[in-house]
Amino acid sequence: MRNKRGKFPYRRMLSSLLLPLVFCLLTFFFYPTIASSQQENENEELLVLPGEMGRSGGRLIVSLRAEPKTLNPVTSTDAPSRDVIGAMQADLVHINRATQLTEPALARSWKVSADGLQYTLKLRTGIKFSDGHPMDADDVLFTFRVYLDEKVHATQRDFLIVGGKPISVRKLDAHTLVFQLTKPYGAGERLFDGFYILPRHLLEQPYREGKFDQAGTLVTAASAWAGLGPFRLKEYIAGQRLVLERNPYYWRADLKGNRLPYLDEIVFLFVPSADAQVLRFQSGEADVISRLSAENYAVLSRQQRAYTMVDAGPGLEYNFLFFNLNDSIEKTSPEMLGKQKWFRSVKFRQAVSAAVDREAIVRLVYQGRGAPLWGPVTPGNRRWVNASIAHPARSLDRARALLKEAGFSWSNGPSGDSALIDPDGKAVDFSLLTSSSNADRAKMATLVQDDLKQLGMHVQVVPMEFRSLIDRVMQTKEYDACLLGLVSFDADPTADMNVWLSSGGTHLWNPSEAHPATPWEAEIDRLMERQLAAPGYEERKKLYDRLQEILAEEQPMIFLASPDILVGAKTVIGNFHPSVLEPYVLWNVEQLFFRNGPENDRR
């Protein structure tokens, strides 16, 4: 390198002499403190994580689609909050996003009683919150008391109600807890994932005073908030950014015993639009990007520079079309009853399914970066997908044959196109709701509309604001058909309990039924209940496979496609192993690090 100024060459000499000197001094001053902190935590049980050995330091910049609404894990519902909280909190047992299996976290080990009703968890010793306060069984007791308290309105509360009764927690000693269930729970210790252990020393008082929802908001001072995750709050600037810093008390270490995380800081920037996020990532202002659309992924891959783009394969999102099968609509119009006659016909639904061109959806909507679906379990959910479900290719002939069997016929319209006529002589036309804010689903709806036109069905696509759409589907039930997508939060079937149980609130085609409306819905109920109680994976898988078969046969939902999880990161970031489960990139945030490189030196 040439000295540009040229006039003062001694400056360089001076600095090259000074730097090592400063470094030596620094080591001299700081060494004793490092040593003493290690001494202090002698009985601390660090959890060693396998993975590439990293390098400490650096600041990771992540852009979020919106500002997180809260830092309180109990009351959070939105994705940005979840992303931020995930980096600040820890749970007892954690689902490894890569293997999709459980692994010990704050609980060192757990034992399940023979009847499957009692879980005995042993906590790690010497663990501290990010403010240095020690964690013990009382924090866990407090945590579950809060999650179970109806007044707190915890979003995850339902998962703690197993078999109609809340689970109870008991403390054996300072590091041992017993969780008592009234019914066996199939997913087992997966239950504990996502129940972040709260700092009792900070939250007990607000909880007692009934001010729990005011704790852990964004305006909370960094010193008044703590967690057990790899990072802790540093600063929040409204409308701009949220900065987290390294938690010096974190309880995970790498293979050489270095305490994680490697990064010094994470900066969450608030970048409202997907396109703006792409631009930031492109210009190097953000280090990682997730939840990319296929179009943006293609743009970024084409002009690949100093970043790696990864197609992690289909995630757990499944998009589908369903018809209004509600039987409890208050003021059902005769017109609606006539339409429901079609929708209730299995052959009609099968015909629609046979006519839908799933390959085209994947190609045109996801630019080929997705998977066609014939069931709710995506290929990304390797452990639970029923591989024997048939994947019939699109066939208009089969669709027409099915409709004919169900008594439908065709008439020649005035302009030469044939219209489908039902057994009562009425032309088949219905509207299809879709969320106006989701371009992908709007596109799917247009494709489905054209597919069904070829069967003589007249479909009108109605784009609608998401909230009013949900209101129509769940509350007023005034709709014909709807195109929606769901994302399972976990690979385990229990995650979708609410969708498949006929009494479930997300049983979209007929929510919260008092009694199963059809024999097959009753069978699905039984299967879901049985898989919940069944002891082993093998048996549960068999039951869940059967459920997938019923869905494929009865087609209450016509499954369309699942998008791939598309993410990217700068090449200098080590341990970048995106998963198909949320949070796609940041799930191993404690292990992410900046490799040696010019990029990193600049930092």
Partner: protein, 351 residues
């Protein structure tokens, strides 16, 4: 004389443009809703006269584009196949001017679908969609303008002619309408209407909504003209001879307003076409798969489309000659109106 010829010129220009759009079915090679899912975002095909070997061909032809393996929107020209362009071919069924069932198209391409202006994300022919879309948007603009001028004439005429409290009341209402933030009013109006409307209903809704919102200005203008007209000597003379209100209005006052009304109409048509485009752009207009200009442009809301496929901008350009035509016509009409007045004023001052 000069004005007369420029008026004729603008009328011819507009006549030709509207003729083209009215014959959309004939000029468009395909049905605007038919999808070719193998060719999303296909770039415009080039029409060749000279082939890859440098030989001149008698008949224009295109080289078909085929998707590159493993890509979503990358095409290459297949120079081994020449697909010739034929004129006056039989193709998709359509109805000319909305009622004549017909199959004859102006041109077509052998063995393949030809996309002279590219295709959209579903492989629909952009040229056909633009032609049909312009038809709908223009029709909405024309009908909206007609409705507005009619309402404006009635209200302005009554207010100006009768005056007094009727004038006050009507003009306050007009001012209210002028002061309304009309775009948001359109949103609100559209939101109250049923969601699942078929394309035809949606079209009439748009026309109705645009027409009822925009009548304020023409009404005020008409009122002004009527106010001055009714005080003219010949009108007063006619009234003195016992002419009825209806006769006066029809025979003497209405002709006075014609130049103002025509000018207004010529200004309003492009405005209302834009209004329709805005509504459809925001998803409140004619629903998919029926094309309208706003509908076609709404694809550009996606950044990737904006950045990658330039031919998706064409629907915006297509309106430029129309708007120029209408504004040219409006300014000529205005000049003509003024000249007419001056001429008459001169005549009136002669001894």
């Amino acid at each position: 004389m000069k004005l007369q010829s420029s008026l004729t010129r603008w009328l011819v220009v507009l006549g030709v443009l509207h003729g083209v759009v009215a014959c959309a079915g004939f000029l468009a090679p395909y049905d605007p809703t038919s999808q070719d899912r193998k060719s999303p975002y296909l770039p415009p095909m080039r029409i060749h006269l000279v082939d890859a070997q440098g030989h001149l061909q008698v008949r224009p032809f295109v080289y078909p584009l085929s998707l590159r393996e493993g890509t979503f929107d990358q095409y290459r020209e297949d120079t081994t196949r020449q697909e010739r362009l034929w004129f006056f071919v039989s193709g998709d069924r359509y109805s000319l001017f909305g009622f004549l069932p017909c199959r004859l198209h102006f041109f077509g391409i052998e063995n393949t679908r030809g996309y002279l202006l590219g295709s959209d994300g579903y492989g629909r022919d952009q040229l056909s969609r633009i032609l049909y879309g312009t038809q709908i948007s223009l029709l909405a603009g024309l009908a909206g303008a007609g409705l507005t001028v009619l309402i404006g004439l009635c209200i302005g005429g009554v207010a100006g002619y009768y005056g007094g409290w009727r004038d006050d009341a009507l003009m306050r209402v007009t001012e209210l309408f002028l002061a309304l933030p009309w775009l948001y009013l359109l949103f609100a109006l559209r939101a109250f209407l049923p969601l699942a409307v078929n394309p035809l209903e949606a079209f009439f809704l748009i026309v109705g909504v645009i027409g009822t919102v925009g009548w304020g200005r023409p009404a005020r203008l008409v009122r002004g003209v009527v106010l001055s007209a009714k005080e003219r000597d010949f009108v007063r003379a006619a009234r003195g001879f016992g002419a009825t209100d209806g006769y006066l209005f029809r025979r003497h006052i209405l002709p006075e307003t014609s130049s103002v009304l025509l000018t207004q109409a010529a200004i309003l048509v492009p405005q209302f076409v834009l209004a329709e485009m805005t509504l459809s752009f925001l998803g409140l207009g004619v629903p998919e798969p029926v094309p309208s200009l706003g509908n076609l442009l709404s694809n550009l809301q996606q950044y990737s489309v904006l950045a990658s496929y330039w031919w998706m901008y064409l629907p915006a350009l297509i309106m430029v000659p129309f708007f120029l035509g209408y504004l040219g016509l409006a300014s000529t009409l205005q000049k003509r109106g003024d000249a007419y007045k001056i001429e008459r004023a001169d005549f009136g001052s002669l001894p």
